[in-house]
Symmetry: C2
Subunit: 325 residues, 2 copies
């Protein structure tokens, strides 16, 4: 908890207080009350400057995304986020009021919409800006949605457009394996691309509603193909995806098919949910939740592997990471 005051000074006025917090920041540890009939859900994700975001990213966006990617992991289990703990390693040049204020506001802007409280933090000096966020949430006991459970015949759905974050990254980097510096500032990107890359919206409300409906779920961080692959492997099944059914965007539609599909299937960093559901449940879910974004894009099949269709004909696509399975 040491030396976090620089961030917390700016954050404490903005942060939510969650009724589960018995003791927040300020002692050696935080203490939390777990609601009855709930289980604790936890995850950690680390973002490193020049690897997970270009060095030119402003600190508000960095902090926002570090939280958002973790809330997305909780959402993918159907969990309701409750709190975060932040380990921040900060170069000396950034240990100033301006950086920390914007960073704290970024944390707050990611937490506040979901009632998430900052309950723990540690700031240290480092040559490289590194943010490690642990997120905690609750799920009704024994009802979490895992990667295992997709059944033959289930419909495969996503919660929204995939591929935009990847298109954005390609828009500011000439060489993805370069030094982590952008060739063009993120601000120069069209609004939708910048939002997709820097301010992904964790699908927390949808994730929670899918309890009792979805048979398996994951969030799309490494790319739709690779992440759906995790479901397939855990569930022992395969999939047929209709490329034409994947929610798209005018900027993706303007590209040649092969490029568009690369962004959609192998792009990553979208933080949409990908889940499976029996078709009868899908109909019921839509009736009960007309406000929830849900896009069927394919079907679970017995033959293992990923098959892609365009105009109802099979298309050969290389799925990043699939060779590992």
């Amino acid at each position: 908890m040491s030396e976090f005051s620089l961030i917390y000074t700016h954050f404490k006025h903005a942060t939510t207080r969650h009724p589960s917090t018995v003791l927040g920041i300020g002692d050696d540890c935080a203490i939390s009350h777990i609601p009855p009939n709930s289980q604790l859900v936890s995850c950690v994700d680390t973002l490193v400057a020049g690897r997970h975001f270009v060095h030119e990213t402003d600190s508000h966006a960095i902090a926002y995304k570090a939280v958002a990617v973790n809330l997305s992991d909780l959402a993918s289990m159907g969990a309701t986020p409750y709190a975060i703990l932040v380990g921040l390693s900060l170069p000396k040049a950034m240990a100033n009021d301006g950086f920390c204020k914007a960073f704290a506001h970024g944390l707050a802007d990611a937490c506040t919409p979901f009632g998430v409280e900052l309950i723990g933090g540690d700031t240290t000096g480092s040559p490289v800006l590194t943010i490690s966020v642990t997120a905690l949430g609750f799920v009704p006991s024994n009802q979490a949605i895992t990667r295992q459970g997709a059944c033959v015949g289930d419909v495969v759905c996503v919660s929204g457009t995939v591929g935009l974050a990847s298109l954005a990254l390609h828009g500011i980097l000439d060489d993805l394996n370069g030094d982590g510096h952008a060739n063009r500032p993120p601000d120069s990107l069209p609004h939708d691309l910048r939002q997709a890359m820097q301010y992904p919206a964790p699908q927390v409300a949808l994730g929670g509603r899918l309890i009792g409906f979805a048979s398996s779920m994951i969030d799309i961080s490494d790319g739709l193909g690779q992440d759906l692959g995790h479901i397939l492997r855990a569930s022992g099944v395969g999939v047929v995806i209709d490329l034409d059914a994947i929610p798209s965007h005018a900027l993706l539609d303007a590209l040649p098919h092969a490029q568009k599909w690369q962004h959609q299937i192998n792009g990553g960093d979208d933080y949409q949910l990908c889940f499976t559901m029996p078709s009868a449940k899908l109909d019921l879910f839509k009736i009960q939740n007309p406000d929830m974004p849900i896009y069927p894009i394919g079907q679970i099949v017995a033959d293992k592997g990923l098959v892609f269709l365009h105009n109802k004909k099979e298309v050969d696509l290389l799925v990043k990471g699939w060779e590992h399975f």
Copy 2:
């Protein structure tokens, strides 16, 4: 949870399974069952190469300490540790089997004695080795021991020797503000010094036993003076410390008084517990827990501030960090 397999491959055979774990590593999040009448206790601490350990430290010791300092934070609340989540940022040169195997064994050697399970992890590339550990534990509801609660007349105790870790660090570094490289390898240190610096033992058993006895508690990470100062500030009291009563070591006793006291009061990195207790309770505790290390070193007084005695006469010592209060 992505890309943690390099570590987990080596760790999964060594790690404890905790009965509270419903779902461990391998999905987007872990799921945990919280025991009845318990509260969740959580903390995060980040270690950066060259800042929190010299670059010459072997990966077993790095991993061990990253866990131990967090278990020490849990112990200082009286909590029983249950699980850790690890965010590891790793330079390319270290992403090899040798480093990861030793690192995993270091994690295991810190976790196993306390039945702690690794339930979440994330490994990323980075120019600088950085380890962020989140530790989770349980405490009987509303019985955690905080920094607030020290009363005038309470005895101040520590759980063991302080100052050795600081002496060790000075033994291998000529310049504490240097580049984080040791002038002499840690292996060249006398055994007790190396142990104190690299393998501190979190006082988990004692912390738990102190529930119902200690009126306040903290673990000594920044130095006895500064950490005890947190208790004083939170409790609105002062203290008189008998320097001669602080548990020492032959290597500390061999130093001139002023140097020895510097290590003991301002040294830090000891991870002993410092706590306060009414004297009647102290007598009872000793009778009921003859096996527990507990050393009275002073008394809480109404006059705010830190007073140090040697041969019953006041000694003027500058306490690091105290000027901030």
